[in-house]
Structure formats: C-alpha cells, structure tokens
C-alpha cells in the first residue's frame, strides 16, 4: 500500500538509495500502489558518482511491500520492507543488478528482465 510521500528502498544498483513516491501511474484517483504497479518517484538519497542524482524524478516499479500480497492459491506473502526498482519509460530496469527477493507476479506484469536478474524469485 504505497501512496505519495512513501519512502521506498531501491532494490537495484541504478544509483538511487531511497525514493519517495509522488504519484501512482494508472487511474487518476488511484489511492494505493501494490506490487507490480509503476510509480513516479523522486530520489531522496543517492549513491555518489552515479548517473542518477538526488532530486531527480524517475519511474519505478514496486517489488516488495510490507502489506501482504495475496495469491489465488491462498498463499499470503509479506516482505520486510517497501522496495522498488528504477525503470525507464519502456519498463526496462535502469540498473544491472537486483537485490533481494522478488515475487513471481512481476512476470505477469511483463517485467521479465527484472525477474531474470533477481537472485531469488518467490
């Protein structure tokens, strides 16, 4: 349940460390974003000497939420933090490595590149 002003960790090596959600892409009045949704975010903290800098506006896809993710099989998964992966307009990740576990749902949302780079897909 990510909404504007939510801080998210960054799960890749694109150069950003922490993002703050500004807007949820989709319907105009969308209140919350879940895993697999694209958000517009501003970089609050960045790694020095990388292409991405602080106060840049980027798009990101949410890969982990503390709010439970429910599957049709009845399985409920909860992560330890809220995390996102910085992407470009097409949906390809800007970084080259992904950190942490990624849920399988991203494959259905056509983020196959992220799923293939992930160290662990749950």
């Amino acid at each position: 349940m990510i909404q504007p002003q939510t801080h998210l960790n960054v799960a890749d090596n694109s150069g950003a460390r922490e993002l703050m959600c500004i807007r949820i892409i989709g319907a105009s009045n969308r209140r919350y974003a879940h895993i697999g949704d694209v958000i517009v975010a501003v970089i609050k903290e960045a790694v020095p000497n990388m292409p991405l800098e602080k106060s840049e506006i980027v798009r990101a896809v949410i890969v982990r939420t503390c709010k439970e993710l429910k599957r049709d099989s009845g399985m409920i998964i909860r992560y330890d933090d809220n995390a996102a992966v910085v992407i470009d307009q097409e949906g390809n990740p800007k970084g080259t490595r992904i950190f942490g576990a990624i849920p399988r749902e991203l494959r259905q949302f056509n983020f196959t590149k992220i799923v293939s780079l992930a160290p662990e897909v749950l």
Partner: protein, 162 residues
Amino acid sequence: MRLEKCWFCSSTVYPGHGIQFVRNDAKIFRFCRSKCHKNFKMKRNPRKVKWTKAYRRVHGKDMTQDATFEFERKRNRPERYDRHVAEETLKAIKKIDKVRVDREARHYAKRMKGKKAQVQKEAANELEQSIHMVKAPAALQKEPSLTLPKVYQKQTEDRMEE
C-alpha cells in the same frame, strides 16, 4: 502443492492457511496462524514457549529421534506419477502414522512411569502432616472411633470413617 511446517509451532500449514514472511535475506518464515505470527513479531524464541513442538523436543517431552521421522524429510526431487506407487504410499502413510503414535505413547508412558506411586506417597505424607487443617487434633483424640482415612484404598472419595 506442499504441506509446510509452521516455523514457530511446527504444525503443518495446509494450502490457504497462514502467512509467509520473507525477510530481506530471502529466508522464508511460514506461520500456520496469526498466533504464531504475532509471537514471532514479538521476537519470542519458540524453544522457550511452552506449547510449541520445539520446546517439547528440547525438554524431552516428545521424541526427538525416530525412524518414522525419516519418512517426512523434505525431498526436492519430483517423482514421476505412478498410480501404483501413489497407492502404496497412501497405505504406508497410514501404517507409519500408527507406528509413530504407538511409539509416542510408549515414550509418554516411560516419562510418566512412577508418577502414580509418587502421587500416592505425597498424598499419604500430606495426610499425616496436614490433617490438622481438616480436623482439629483435639477432636481426633476425643473420639477414638475417628480414624485417619486410608490413602491406599482404590476409592476416589476420602471419607472419614465415623
């Protein structure tokens, strides 16, 4: 579909039940119900929480090593479906369960052996020492027909013989 074990209480988690928590190092903790999940969030150690299987195993209340546990080991190799094998496995599960339950009962009996004699001894002791709480010593001495009830009788009622 796989039947998992709850991380906290070690009971089986059936599909559609419970929550899985994924820590940032990708370790998965499965819980059978919110009771176990909440205890985990409170950072309780299952080995110290009395009603969990972990506690019972550590403190010798339940069997720890047995051949029947080998059948439940997690196997990651998928088996090709064979109807004959599936039938035999179902029969075997029943038999193994019966064997395991019998062995657990025997373990319990061995643990509780000598308890009955100890309870009897303590009861006799208490009767001798604490009879003044029930009947005043003066009354016992005055009426010679009043006697202490015998503990070794099999009757459940401890009636004073008058």
